[in-house]
């Protein structure tokens, strides 16, 4: 078990990062910190994916010097997935940030709990 962890340290780090991101997303009160947590979480998944696709000693799947055999390259699909995932997470981050700006303009705080209290006071 310990040996596995050591050889797959990339995955292990990814899992730890995922946990950190997840906790931040849920437990932080500050909206910006929540968004940072979310980004850490997403990035951890990409790291995990990239680590899955990486094969030690091989090159990125870009054909140079006319070498066409698959044995020379790493698996390109995870890299593709990571790219797609990054696009998704960027757009989601943008949306979250815009929401945060709206809330900040209205309530002049980034603390979500405080905002809730203020909304309750507003009534309606």
């Amino acid at each position: 078990m310990g040996g596995n962890l050591l050889t797959n340290y990339g995955e292990a780090v990814a899992m730890i990062l995922f946990g950190i991101g997840c906790t931040n997303l849920l437990l932080q009160k500050n909206l910006i910190k929540k968004i940072i947590g979310m980004n850490i979480m997403d990035t951890a998944i990409y790291l995990f994916l990239a680590e899955k696709g990486y094969i030690a000693g091989r090159a990125a799947p870009i054909i140079v010097d006319g070498i066409q055999e698959a044995e020379h390259y790493i698996n390109p699909i995870p890299s593709g997935l990571v790219l797609t995932g990054i696009v998704v997470s960027v757009s989601v981050t943008a949306l979250m940030l815009s929401l945060t700006i709206r809330l900040y303009q209205r309530y002049h705080t980034l603390d979500l709990d405080e905002i809730s209290v203020m909304i309750k006071k507003e009534g309606k």
Partner: protein, 502 residues
């Protein structure tokens, strides 16, 4: 030889998406007309597809692009998918129709265009979730679904909705993060992204007896992720605000379609990706069962305590989602059929309830006070009738579709092993709790108001004033009764669909 009809699923996804893109260049009115046109077209196409697949008797695979099986991207269309697509389109149309007037009142003129763009994108992502046979595509569309749903919530710009949207986004992002993680695990285990290929890989792994724990972790991650996104108790905290304060069309769409899209994906994962046998053997299904039961009770209890009628209906959604997960958790074919049927019946009923409730509130000066609803059923007769029908259906009154789904659930439950007794007891208790708050409301809206001073504040709403609303509610009532009385063909169809689903 490719029949022309086979292209329709792909066309519907793409046309919805392009409608969204084109709408951004149009004016509000144009976007609305385009949206209506596309939805109608998709409805027709889904109906034709359904007819085609029923004739065919099995599902077919539609290859997207030029790469074939293990690498390319594909759609898979069977009876269940086509039926769901058709149904979602109809509900979407009716919800928009019923919520239109309110939308015009509550959303600024310039933003209405954005609303229809969001609806287009949402429809496209829902259709994609229904049809796709590729896990990563599913993930991408889950995110699109989340973003457009968030747009629907916050289109009505006031503090509550923005806060609700933020909370919704936080929980949803957590959910999609978990889903993606689970997906990556599965990819790591099997090396595939297409559902059918993953399934072969999973079967192989299980036969070899290898990687038991990672497989379970992957299943657990995906189930949890989708459970969070579809607001299974205890992850429902975002739901009441999001459904309770957004504009009514959004509430109707969110409660009846968005959460159902995720549930459909979960069913797909259970059947097609992991395989029903593997799921049955894992303990995860029992966890879903237990949380479903808890949701049935806790959702209803929260609804009883709630005095804002729309939040009350939102909490009732938590209970109904619990029913669906309970059915899935039974781990039998019959339970699954009941769940799928309940997805439909809840969609019909809940969107009707939201629209009717909004009509009643309108006739009560948009007050959130429960007692201001007194006599609202007389002031807005269509909404009163629709709310009554919806409540009766929710309570499981015979003749309406809620009763049929309860019957199906109970029938599924008596087949189960140790799950029989808890399922039946909780079903009975939760029905009773439903009866408490829904009947309370129905009686309230039909209790005459005796204070002329207050009566002056409220206005009556005739049928002529809101013709679209009237038509939508009547359609909903009819749909409800049809599903309640003539459910047999539909149940047979769903059964058939589930068989060819795997």
């Amino acid at each position: 030889m490719l029949d022309f009809v086979q292209n329709f699923p792909c066309f519907s996804i793409v046309s919805c998406m392009f409608a969204g893109i084109i709408s951004s260049a149009l004016k509000g009115k144009g976007a609305k007309i385009l949206n209506l046109g596309v939805l109608l077209a998709v409805t027709v196409m889904s109906a034709l597809t359904l007819g085609y697949v029923m004739d065919l008797g099995e599902s077919y695979i539609y290859v997207m692009g030029t790469f074939s099986a293990p690498w390319g991207n594909e759609l898979r269309v069977g009876v269940l998918e086509a039926a769901m697509a058709l149904f979602f389109c109809v509900i979407m149309l009716l919800s928009l129709m019923g919520g239109q007037q309110k939308l015009q009142e509550e959303v600024e003129e310039g933003k209405q265009k954005l609303y229809y763009i969001m609806v287009d994108l949402l429809m496209s992502s829902l259709l994609a979730l229904i049809y796709t046979n590729d896990m990563f595509t599913a993930y991408v569309f889950v995110e699109i679904n989340t973003i457009s749903a968030c747009g629907l919530i916050m289109i009505r710009q006031w503090g509550r909705t923005i806060e609700a949207a933020t909370r919704y986004m936080i929980m949803s992002l957590l959910g999609s993060g978990l889903l993606l993680m689970g997906l990556v695990f599965l990819y790591g285990l099997t090396g595939h992204l297409l559902m059918s290929n993953i399934h072969q890989g999973v079967v192989h792994i299980v036969e070899q007896g290898e990687y038991h724990i990672p497989l379970m972790v992957a299943i657990a991650l995906m189930c949890t992720g989708l459970a969070i996104k579809s607001a299974l108790f205890p992850f429902h905290s975002w739901l009441p605000d999001a459904y309770g304060y957004s504009t009514v069309a959004s509430s109707a769409i969110l409660s009846s379609l968005v959460s159902k899209g995720y549930i459909f994906l979960l069913i797909k994962i259970i059947y097609r990706v992991i395989g029903f046998d593997v799921i049955q053997q894992s303990k995860i299904i029992n966890v879903l069962f237990v949380f479903g039961l808890a949701g049935m009770i806790m959702g209803s209890l929260s609804a009883i305590k709630e005095s804002n009628i729309r939040r009350m209906i939102a909490f009732s959604s938590v209970a109904q989602i619990g029913y669906i997960y309970m059915g899935i958790g039974l781990g039998t074919e019959a339970g699954m059929t009941a769940s799928v049927f309940h997805v439909l019946s809840h969609a019909v009923t809940k969107s009707m309830l939201f629209i009717a409730a909004s009509g009643l509130l309108q006739a009560s000066g948009d007050s959130t006070d429960f007692f201001d609803l007194t006599g609202a059923g007389f002031r807005n007769k269509t909404a009163g009738a629709a709310f009554t029908v919806g409540s009766l259906s929710m309570v499981g009154f015979p003749m309406f579709c809620g009763f049929t789904s309860k019957l199906l659930f109970a029938r599924a439950a008596v087949d189960g092993s140790w799950k029989m007794l808890p399922a039946l007891i909780v079903l009975a208790v939760s029905t009773l709790l439903n009866a408490i708050y829904f009947m309370k409301t129905v009686i309230r809206i039909y209790t005459p108001l005796r204070e002329p001073a207050r009566e002056k504040r409220f206005r009556k709403i005739g049928i002529g004033e809101q013709p679209m609303n009237f038509v939508a509610l009547i359609c909903f009532i009819l749909l409800n009764v049809v599903l309640g009385l003539g459910a047999e063909p539909l149940v047979a169809l769903l059964n058939n669909g589930l068989k060819m689903f795997a």
